[in-house]
Symmetry: C2
Subunit: 170 residues, 2 copies
């Protein structure tokens, strides 16, 4: 695929602010999904041997702030190291703890995004020593992974008789 050529033909598509807004919009919805779970079900309820939603939310917390941090600064740091001076519980076992970490992440992402340099999205990088690609693609991968697991949370909630928040509200 000739990226250069297509860019010349069709110009810009989305900006760093657009992408951050997209990411945070999805995170706001996931937050409401976490809130919708009864405390106990968040850590015990599973279908088909999958992880409880509390564990999926923990994965999303481990990816979001460290992911945005790596995108913005080129430093891929684990959550425990990133948040260690904050006195936060980075492996919470309560709904309140997960949400507290979630909210810290939201703030950290907004703050670190200001360090993003021109052209960074077009660089290639290896996120967390695992995911390789252009930086814009890594961002979409983090977002896509969240949508994927959140969709699974919708099934858990429905099977518990709980109506999940509307997908189109961010």
């Amino acid at each position: 695929m000739n990226t250069q050529e297509t860019t010349a033909a069709a110009g810009i598509t989305l900006t760093p602010s657009d992408l951050l807004e997209q990411w945070q919009g999805h995170r706001a919805l996931t937050r409401r999904v976490i809130e919708a779970f009864p405390e106990e079900k968040l850590f015990t309820y599973t279908i088909g041997g999958m992880r409880p939603f509390g564990e999926l939310a923990a994965e999303l917390n481990q990816m979001a702030a460290p992911g945005a941090h790596g995108v913005a600064t080129r430093q891929w740091i684990e959550l425990k190291d990133l948040a260690k001076e904050e006195g936060l519980d980075v492996a919470p076992k309560t709904k309140a703890g997960i949400l507290e970490l979630w909210d810290w992440t939201t703030t950290h992402m907004n703050k670190i995004w200001e360090k993003l340099e021109p052209g960074r999205f077009q660089e290639s990088d290896l996120a967390f020593g695992m995911y390789e690609g252009k930086v814009w693609w890594l961002c979409l991968y983090f977002i896509d992974n969240e949508i994927h697991h959140r969709g699974q949370g919708y099934v858990y909630l429905r099977s518990l008789g709980i109506a999940p928040p509307p997908f189109w509200e961010r």
Copy 2:
């Protein structure tokens, strides 16, 4: 959010070809999820009163080619009208029929994408009389909706004892 200012600061992010590749990559994975369902379960198996995956796949088929068509041509046409000269079954009730429509969609999307004009992604539009936003955002919405429902398909498969295809393979 000041989009103009951020664009000036950080430049382009992704191109129409990149976006199409992202969309088609997700669709290729969803196709493998459809294939993983036993024929009968595709139309009957549900959790928590949700739609069977065959119905979710039908929704995705109804959005993809018409969505890409609207993005590229500014004409929002229903699938039945878009595909009527093709002799295709646009409401298939078999796995083979769903996959046939899926493959026609893949080809149509690639073809219609060539009509996309410079600057189109930055226009605002109202997709299918329902979804309003910048055109790049509409594209992401269609993709996100597919990831969301496909994630639900993963839970259905797991609860049927079937291993879904890896999420990271596109």
